[in-house]
């Protein structure tokens, strides 16, 4: 291997490291930022202002919350299973950040280009249920246990049709590679042929990140804080940030699978805007939509949630799959 070859290898290696670090920092940072955006937007939609005191428009509220969480006593209950108690929030954070590795942000931006990217994403979100269950079980607390039970049942049942709703896209493209899925949308985004699949995936995504209206695992009014009742300080912070990263993940995956990823308009000066802008714009609008849904829909009863999943969403996903299969076959 000559010098030029070595330096090329080194530069791609360096590029990868820059990619990994930048995406990690950006994802975690924007997850923290999303907490402020959410509080601000919920305020606006409820005819209030939201946090607007700390810094310009209140953006430094995130920093203030962070300082507060860091300085809080990091308390582990004496009755808790210490090891599992500490591991659970780590898993919560790890799986969602790991799932972000396969998200193709733009050409040249993205951690890894897996040919089973979609499966990796589904696997990682499935592992998220362990964080909730471990946290709930290790807390040795009635509320936490009830929250953990709900979370396990909810996430397992919503995963089923989350996977099924994506199979339509896979059928249309014939690949699990997310970059190729984006390229396949150059003639038209998949949210038109796969509209039902998109809606189902969106609902499942909200349920996977257990946010209102599917926040039964942590329903404040019934279970104080559900599975993270006993958590405080930065361990709670990791659950919290993990939830917001998973919101971003759902929005990013929606963008990639149904809204053409980084593809933007190709006419006029708009063609010169970097593709990453279009990706962030689409994902941002979807995050706002998820916040809007949180601000407007009430939480269903637990049995209604299960019935909705198994009796409405799963058959709908099957029908969608069947129709797509017929169309592809013809």
């Amino acid at each position: 291997m000559n010098d030029i070859g070595t330096s090329a290898v080194q530069s791609t290696w360096l590029l990868n490291v820059v990619n990994v670090v930048a995406i990690l920092v950006f994802v975690v940072g924007s997850a923290a930022f999303t907490t402020w955006v959410e509080r601000r937007m919920l305020g606006i939609w409820q005819d209030r202002y939201g946090p607007n005191r700390v810094g310009p428009f209140g953006v430094l509220q995130v920093l203030a919350d962070m300082i507060k969480l860091l300085w809080k006593e990091d308390w582990v209950p004496s009755f808790a299973d210490k090891f599992v108690f500490v591991v659970a929030p780590t898993i919560a954070m790890f799986v969602v950040v790991a799932a972000f590795a396969v998200v193709p942000v733009a050409p040249g931006i993205g951690v890894v280009d897996l040919n089973v990217g979609l499966l990796f994403f589904l696997a990682m979100t499935s592992l998220g249920v362990y964080a909730v269950m471990f946290g709930a079980y290790a807390s040795d607390n009635k509320y936490a246990l009830l929250g953990g039970l709900r979370a396990a049942a909810q996430m397992v049942s919503y995963e089923v049709f989350m996977g099924l709703s994506l199979m339509g896209v896979v059928m249309l493209t014939g690949t699990f590679n997310l970059r190729e899925i984006v390229h396949a949308q150059e003639d038209g985004w998949f949210f038109i042929p796969q509209f039902i699949g998109m809606v189902i995936f969106f609902i499942a995504g909200i349920a996977e990140s257990h946010r209102t209206p599917f926040d039964l695992p942590e329903a404040e009014h019934e279970l104080t804080a559900g599975f993270h009742t006993e958590y405080s300080g930065m361990k709670f912070g990791m659950f919290f940030i993990g939830e917001y990263v998973s919101v971003l993940l759902t929005a990013a995956m929606m963008t990639v699978l149904f809204f053409g990823g980084w593809l933007g308009p190709t006419w006029g000066f708009l063609a010169y805007i970097p593709p990453v802008f279009w990706f962030l714009l689409k994902a941002g609008i979807l995050v706002l939509l998820m916040i809007l849904i949180r601000g407007s829909l009430p939480r269903p009863r637990y049995d209604q949630l299960m019935a909705f999943g198994w009796k409405a969403m799963l058959p709908l996903a099957m029908v969608n799959l069947l129709i797509t299969a017929v169309v592809v076959l013809l």
């Binding site: 005819d47 209030r48 809007l292 849904i293 407007s296 829909l297």
Partner: protein, 181 residues
């Protein structure tokens, strides 16, 4: 058919909820940003309690104790005293605002319009003992909400050199020892 209608109804009602909330993006916030901007307080707002004076500048309170009796939290305490003209006045008048619930019953009970609640709620203190207001803190140099009222002018009681029947709208007292009507 009914099932289809129900599904339609669920979808429409949920989408409509989301749309209704979204439409609030462009409405004005109801928030009053309090320390920067003072909210409107009605004149009858029940806030800090004051003791008022009559139009002549003398204090209205006659130390009848009705306010202290009506107070549900027992936060008012006072001691009656009498001046040389036979007029009653409070020797001390003390309101413990850390117990007061601003119900306004003392104001309703007061026969002389002396005790009044005012539109002021900014009374926070770092030291709890500072919440106990004495007469010197309570007594103001004005008539409050009733500018022309003076109890002794209409009370029919002889006091401060004024005999019975010399007040406003008062008839001279009946001579009970006379047979004439």
């Amino acid at each position: 058919m009914r099932i289809l209608y129900l599904i339609y109804d669920y979808i429409v009602s949920n989408v409509k909820s989301v749309w209704d909330v979204f439409s609030h993006t462009f409405t004005k916030a109801d928030t009053v940003e309090y320390p920067d901007e003072m909210p409107y307080l009605a004149p009858r707002f029940r806030g800090r309690i004051v003791l008022t004076r009559d139009p002549d500048g003398k204090e209205r309170c006659v130390a009848c104790n009705l306010c202290a009796v009506s107070c549900p939290t027992d936060c008012i305490s006072l001691q009656k005293a009498e001046d040389e003209t036979g007029r009653w006045y409070p020797e001390f008048f003390r309101i413990n605002f850390s117990r007061c619930v601003y119900c306004g019953l003392c104001e309703e009970a007061c026969p002389t319009y002396s005790i009044q609640l005012t539109p002021d709620f900014e009374m926070a203190e770092y030291n709890r003992q500072n919440m106990v207001y004495e007469k010197e803190h309570l007594l103001i140099n004005g008539t409050g909400k009733y500018p022309n009222y003076s109890f002794y002018n209409v009370s029919g009681k002889a006091v401060s050199g004024r005999k019975k029947g010399e007040g406003v709208n008062e008839a001279p007292p009946v001579d009970v020892k006379s047979l004439l009507p």
